[in-house]
């Protein structure tokens, strides 16, 4: 048995960490998950569909619990629930008119509340499920097999290829739907495709990270990057980098600590967002203040 202690020699620490198969797999899976969730999350934040994304992540819980209850594989449950929820959300007419938007969020909220209730019921019907519940909600980041990593990689490559294929028209439809539609871009179809991709990604990722952490990885790096820069390509790249940094740091710190990995990943993500948002706010105030000075100077 190797004794694990943290030294301030970081190279030695990392080397020690990589001696463990489960840590190597966790880092591999974390890397794939960070890239996949970052790219989809960037569009999700841009389209202001965080609530839809949260629901798509949450429905994996009743999906998996229900599948286990009826004796099917949990994986089937994750995907079936996420894709079904994506299609339900996509069926609501989404226009940028305020009313349609609030109609959408009301429907999503209703779906989400019912999904959680159904999940709780399935868990209680199954009985003696408590360990499973923890892993459904909080994931099993540190118990990933090599074959799971391969499956995750294949899925992520497919989802990212799909996203790349529709990338530019999706960006157009997200920013300026009226003009996009007049230009002949299938705005509704793109919206549905995006939700299905988001659902697939959420289902895949939540098998590793649990249904609660997946949302953190979708929303936090993207929201932080969009605070830092308004250049689309740069902020997308930054989203992926921030996601990677958060996951690697979280896993590294968790390895030397007794507390759960999800806590560290979320905390680093949150800290990054708070820093970026405060910097942005301070910057805006400074700019406004200097603008006011300029006006005063002109008046004087």
């Amino acid at each position: 048995m190797i004794h694990i202690t943290f030294s301030w020699n970081l190279v030695a620490d990392v080397r020690q960490m990589l001696m463990f198969r489960f840590m190597v797999n966790a880092l591999r899976a974390g890397t794939i998950v960070a890239v996949l969730a970052g790219a989809l999350g960037w569009f999700m934040v841009l389209r202001r569909q965080a609530f839809a994304g949260h629901t798509l992540a949450i429905v994996s819980f009743p999906g998996a619990a229900g599948a286990i209850l009826i004796g099917a594989s949990a994986t089937v449950g994750y995907f079936a629930a996420a894709v079904a929820a994506a299609l339900v959300i996509a069926a609501v007419p989404r226009s940028l008119g305020g009313r349609a938007r609030s109609g959408e969020s009301a429907l999503i909220g209703t779906v989400q509340a019912f999904a959680l209730a159904a999940g709780a019921l399935f868990v209680s019907l199954y009985g003696g499920f408590l360990n499973g519940l923890t892993s459904l909600l909080f994931g099993s980041f540190l118990g990933i097999s090599s074959s799971q990593v391969v499956a995750l990689l294949v899925m992520a490559v497919l989802a990212l290829a799909g996203l790349a294929a529709i990338g530019r028209p999706l960006f157009f439809a997200s920013v300026d739907p009226d003009v996009a539609e007049a230009r002949g871009i299938p705005v509704r179809l793109l919206s549905s495709l995006f939700l299905v991709l988001l659902g697939l990604a959420a289902a895949e990722v939540s098998q590793i990270t649990g249904v609660l952490l997946v949302f953190a990885l979708l929303v936090m790096p993207a929201a932080t990057a969009q605070q830092i820069t308004v250049r689309p390509a740069l902020s997308l790249a930054l989203t992926v980098l921030l996601g990677l940094a958060t996951v690697w740091l979280g896993l590294g710190v968790a390895f030397y600590s007794i507390y759960p990995v999800g806590f560290f990943i979320t905390t680093f993500g949150f800290a990054g967002y708070v820093l970026a948002a405060s910097w942005q706010a301070a910057n805006g105030r400074w700019r406004r203040a200097s603008g006011r000075d300029a006006t005063v100077a002109v008046a004087a």
């Binding site: 202001r48 028209p169 960006f171 157009f172």
Partner: protein, 293 residues
């Protein structure tokens, strides 16, 4: 632009094909109800034309039929010498809209760039603007139109954080990126303050003259654009009248179009006030309520 100039020459020789947009005995239905019929409108190349009429008369529907987004129930519309819907890339379109959300973290220049290639599948290659001549040319064109509309100072800022008039300038730039021969604008002055209204109207007029672009503009108030117009088209349920502003915006013409007594008053500064236009006063009232909500 070269083709537009050639079309202008053609206009002098063959009058029949000289119109950028022509409606012939056109009618349109929305939800099974005919909203206008017997509409005959000609928009000659290079002219600045306003489409006017009270609320609910179907001005936006008329614009959408020019774009080929709405099919006519009778008659025909010819756009740039072809049936509507086949001139896609040569039309620049600015839909009726509210403002961009102030939290949208996308620059004005990105929104303008989407006007050039937004519908192409895939994603732009990183750094392609530096190495591919076609991408570099596209980037320069974007800078050029931003300069043309006078938006260079704020094109790098998030579009939700610039004023309504500045947003409208950027959107006009977006519509102009591909050098359209016809620019179609649906209430571009709506929800702008008065100084911005006259500045944007002057800009549209300048684009029309200098870039030789035919402009069709839907408006509910003719006054900001009145000094620049070549032609107005007033739409009513049973037809349209089309001609110079002086000949159309008259008590007699509008009274016979709407079959209700209408009086056009001229203020000392040349502004026109149309009194008795069906539904118009109620509309102005609603507008203010919407703004407060």
């Amino acid at each position: 632009m070269g083709t537009a100039a050639r079309e202008k020459t053609k206009m002098r020789t063959a009058v029949d094909t000289a119109d950028a947009v022509r409606f012939e005995n056109a009618a349109a239905q929305v939800g099974g109800r005919t909203i206008w019929s017997d509409v005959n409108i000609s928009v000659p190349y290079g002219q600045f034309v306003a489409v006017l009429g009270p609320n609910g008369v179907g001005k936006s529907t008329l614009i959408k039929s020019v774009l080929g987004l709405v099919a006519l129930s009778a008659g025909s519309v010819t756009v740039l010498g072809r049936p509507a819907g086949q001139a896609g890339r040569e039309i620049g379109y600015l839909p009726q809209r509210r403002n961009f959300d102030s939290s949208l973290r996308v620059r004005g220049i990105d929104v303008v760039s989407l006007g050039a290639d937004g519908e192409r599948w895939g994603v732009p290659l990183p750094f392609a603007g530096r190495y591919l001549p076609s991408r570099r040319a596209a980037r320069e064109r974007v800078r050029e139109v931003i300069d043309l509309v006078g938006a260079s100072a704020y094109a790098e800022r998030p579009i939700g954080q610039v004023s309504g008039g500045e947003q409208q300038r950027l959107l006009i730039a977006q519509a102009l990126v591909r050098r359209p021969r016809l620019l179609v604008l649906d209430e571009p002055l709506d929800s702008l303050d008065l100084p911005s209204q006259s500045a944007v109207a002057a800009l549209i007029s300048r684009i029309c003259r200098e870039q030789n672009v035919t402009v069709m503009l839907v408006a509910h108030d003719v006054n900001p654009i009145l000094p620049y117009l070549d032609c107005v088209a007033y739409i009513g349920r049973g037809g349209a009248v089309c001609g110079t502003p002086d000949s159309v915006i008259q008590s007699q013409t509008l009274t016979s179009l709407y079959r209700t007594p209408i009086e056009v008053l001229k203020a000392s500064d040349g502004r026109l006030v149309v009194v008795g236009e069906p539904e118009a006063p109620a509309r102005h009232h609603d507008r203010h309520e919407d703004e407060q909500a």
